[in-house]
Point group: C3
Chain length 217, copies 3
């Protein structure tokens, strides 16, 4: 019995569970962004889909990793569409959950980044591409959401977000090169990346910005 339990727990894929929570949270954030533009519920569904699954799609297209993830997992599509549409019903209560959202989003950022690294590693890409693959997965969903909502992507001007993804990806590759066990590596990346993101939020850490107002272009 104990063996069965241990085996069941071992086969429970923590990264997958976090991933499912993360795409749900991302889909809801996409739905809220669509609501700020007064879109209809079809627009809400598209923005939810793109925010949650767009980063992985751009990664797979860039790396030539066919078939693309969600085409093999229609249940992910149902999940994000359902989460997006549900958001339109419960939006008025969501502001009480803002902190929970930020926590889920931080978990998701780390999970997306690690999954992106794994995909590129399995395809045999160079370390630089592995890191970019992690960052594309973590960030491009939000970029697509903002482009479709006709605004400058907030990831280009906000608290440390992309930097967390970069840190997580680099850390994962470095610990991997040291021969650290994959599960321990993943766990350490989660602890460090998650803490770093929450600290950045709490203290409003930002990267220096660059302002240029020269007349020519």
């Amino acid at each position: 019995m104990t063996d069965q339990l241990a085996s069941a727990l071992a086969s429970f894929d923590l990264l997958l569970a976090v991933y499912l929570v993360a795409i749900t949270a991302e889909a809801m954030s996409g739905a809220l962004a669509a609501g700020r533009r007064n879109m209809d519920i079809f627009g809400v569904a598209v923005i939810a889909f793109v925010t949650a699954l767009g980063g992985g799609t751009i990664r797979d297209v860039t790396l030539g990793n066919y078939p693309i993830g969600w085409t093999q997992h229609p249940e992910y599509v149902y999940l994000v569409l359902g989460a997006g549409l549900l958001t339109t019903l419960v939006a008025r209560y969501l502001h009480r959950l803002q902190r929970l959202f930020l926590v889920l989003d931080a978990l998701g950022l780390v999970a997306f980044s690690l999954i992106g690294c794994s995909v590129a590693l399995n395809l045999g890409y160079a370390p630089m591409v592995v890191i970019l693959s992690g960052m594309i997965t973590g960030i491009c969903g939000g970029i697509l959401r903002d482009v479709l909502c006709n605004q400058v992507p907030i990831v280009f001007c906000r608290e440390l977000y992309a930097s967390v993804s970069l840190l997580v990806c680099a850390l994962f590759l470095i610990m991997r090169s040291w021969g650290i066990d994959s599960d321990i590596n993943t766990l350490l990346c989660f602890i460090i990346g998650f803490s770093f993101r929450l600290l950045a939020l709490r203290h409003g850490w930002r990267l220096p910005t660059f302002s240029y107002h020269g007349r020519w272009d």
Copy 2:
């Protein structure tokens, strides 16, 4: 003689004919959108191309369906570029043809959706992906047009349009699972989808919209 005529008529591919009319109409709508932004004729050509052929391109890239359609049919490219440029010459007379345009666009929406479904079916994708493939083909050209013209995609806030695509794709799959002959299936999808779109236009049917003005994000 009658046999020859029957065979000639049979080999006349109605779906292809509607497709060619549809990409022409889409290219012209793209050119008009470019004209609203005072683009030069190169910009007009790009927006015409992207509006007409961009949806199929995104579908093929997403499904890994290489080589992409228009790269094997340069005549489609000539057609849409020609239609886009011609539009700059005849734009002043086009407002008289607005109703014709809406009819052609409605036909095109159904044709694009059915073609998108067929492509995904032939590649062996799951039903959910088949439906999304049809909708991507039907809708993404207009989304790209609007993003390049720096506005929120109108398909996210207008009369039932994406919903027509969804209905057509779902209907096609359901009738196919019932074993209905492919040609009859296509014809029924056209009749129902086309009528639904025209009714939506005439009566201003819209999906409910979602407005959210919470302060956090």
Copy 3:
């Protein structure tokens, strides 16, 4: 000795050298655009990357040319990220170099176009697709930059730019069909395309624009 020198010179790939200069210049122009939007240095790095390498990426994805160029050349990624970040430090001095920039950009436009043509030729695509491949490579980086900076792409409304790319690609294909030696062909394309672009800049040559203000859409 002379033979060695000749061989060394022959193996020095002029097109590659111009390409490296060009992606550096494009990355810097991307960084300046990001600075106009007050992005943080991560945003600067993304826009620099996308401006310099985005055109080639869209070309490779469209043609199914995997693996994508920069994934096999991490040094290109370091180069454009370095150039983008360096720009934030030296931006105040760059206005003195505006003319140099325009010259490098003109060289880059020709180099990108020729490289895009070569890629499509090697994959056996039709002439129309070869020309579009050259133009996609030359122009799409700037389009992505402008979309991410939330403005209508300037290539749709400015001095002859895309037209230079079109001329270069068509010229290259025509001279190739005449059996002209590839190196001479490349050289002639550079001379003609580069001169044409500089003349367009100096004299403010533009394509006719198309303005449309009909009420319906």
